[in-house]
């Protein structure tokens, strides 16, 4: 029997998109839901995310945000290199740290850093950034086949699922092995669309990987972001689908695909 799972990452406190994603995944027959971390950042009211994860029994691993919040660190350890990007990251982190309850932060510390399971015969490994580093960015245009093959040899798996970048992609490797970046459901994928994306995986003789766009109540999100005085640049991204921040970390191809 084929199995079907839904995997997403980068919730970024967008509890409205999280609810919509979980519903959509169940309506498409997903038997289990997985979240690859970064529950907070960017959006409003971080504590609204946790009851939804519980309600839909989402198996969740730690992202760099959960690591930093549970350790009571001073920054998100997002891995940005540009001063402007880091300024925005700090605004997000300070807001999220102040608005996340202590018990939620403690719970984040109990989350595993990776998950291993057998999915339809595929030895599957889930990690936040990469199996070797929680905040490593695996972009499509800078994650070549030989490099990904080496990662899967050092961290044995036929199917690797990651997130952290916010952009979804799937690369097939020799020997019916696969790497999938499931993207983020907290903000659009810098494609000029307001929907957010998650991955729906169906096992069979071949692995079927589909990326599903999800509509959600972005107007309410924008209203609440304004009420919480979150940066106008973040709101612009939610409204337009184009990234306005964290651009300097993008490789040339991914940068060229956006508007800014």
């Amino acid at each position: 029997m084929p199995e079907r799972i839904a995997v997403f990452g980068g919730v970024y406190s967008n509890y409205l998109a999280l609810e919509a994603t979980c519903r959509d995944a169940l309506s498409r027959g997903a038997e289990s839901l997985y979240c690859l971390g970064d529950l907070g950042a960017f959006g409003p009211h971080p504590d609204r995310v946790f009851p939804i994860l519980e309600k839909y029994r989402v198996r969740t691993i730690q992202g760099n945000y959960e690591e930093s919040l549970s350790r009571r660190s001073r920054d998100c350890n997002c891995g940005y290199t540009d001063p402007r990007d880091n300024q925005f990251a700090q605004i997000s982190f300070d807001y999220t740290a102040a608005k996340t309850s202590e018990s939620s932060k403690d719970w984040m510390g109990t989350l595993p850093r990776e998950l291993r399971l057998s999915f339809g015969g595929f030895q599957t490994l889930m990690a936040h950034g990469s199996p070797r580093k929680i905040n490593e960015f695996l972009w499509y245009s800078t994650s070549p086949v030989p490099f990904l093959s080496r990662l899967l040899e050092l961290h044995p798996a036929d199917l690797l699922l990651v997130s952290h970048t916010g952009l979804h992609w799937h690369r097939r490797l020799p020997g019916n092995r696969h790497v999938v970046n499931v993207g983020a459901i907290g903000r659009p994928a810098n494609d000029g669309r307001r929907e957010v994306w998650y991955a729906l995986l169906t096992s069979g003789t071949d692995l079927d990987v589909r990326f599903i766009p999800v509509e959600y109540d972005f107007k309410t999100l924008i209203h609440e972001m304004k009420e919480e005085k979150l940066p106008a640049e973040f709101i612009q991204t939610i409204r337009t689908g184009w990234w306005t921040t964290y651009l300097e970390i993008l490789p040339a191809k991914e940068r060229a695909a956006g508007r800014f």
């Binding site: 972009w139 245009s141 800078t142 070549p144 030989p146 490099f147 040899e153 040339a252 191809k253």
Partner: protein, 290 residues
Amino acid sequence: MNIPDTLEHPLVPLLALDTLWFQVAGTICNLRCTHCFISCAPDNHSHEMMTLDAVGRYLREAATLGVREYYFTGGEPFMNRDIFPILEATLQVGPATVLTNGLLLDPNRAARLRALSDASDYSLDLRVSLDGWGPRDHERIRGRGTFRRAVVGIRNLWHAGLNPVVTVTELADGVASSHGRERFLVLLRSFGLTRPRLKILPLFRIGAEEKRGRPYHRWERLAKDDLIDPERLQCGSGRMVTSRGVYVCPILIDHPSARMGESLSDSLRPFELSFSACYTCHVMGVTCRT
């Protein structure tokens, strides 16, 4: 002085060979910049141009080691007659970045680069150096007439649909401060780059820069007990290939003891951080990567 001394120094392991550099134009350059850490010049043949065959051999070995990304530098890479086939071969196995002074980037070359980029799944990135706010600063380092020509090269890339990363050394007065950085972005926008990309690099007090600025002080070295972080040092995840073999990093190719062997597999052992330039990387958290 950048010569190794007799003290003991920290050893940095190669965590993984993620980044492979090619000194694709050797030390041969159409400029003679006064801050160049390897004194590149039209007549400096310490390291020769690399051929497509030589680069291809290393690319094949690199693929077996799972290299993630490739960088090309010199000298001036576009002086290498094989640079386009070299980039084409590279972009079949991974992403490539070329460091250039921009002088040879005419509209025809810019269009060919765009075509190479479009034909690959992997990113092709260009980095063009500017050394100041205008002709006066830039040309004091790089020679007469070079500022305008570099800006023309940058514009040609932009018009071809490639958005280069403009690289500035800290010689540009105040550029490292947030205000200076913002001013530089304004300058780039004035060239027509509506989405400017910028990287700022520190200076290494070796090569020509040792004479232009000052040499390292004796104390500017790492001692055995200094806590180093291999994740922040480029020698923790990269190596440099030149016509003369594999070196630990792009900075130290003038030093025989920084040569680690003929093949990449010879170069995977730890490296002792005995040079003063290692101190700059450690203190500044420098990586030559973008």
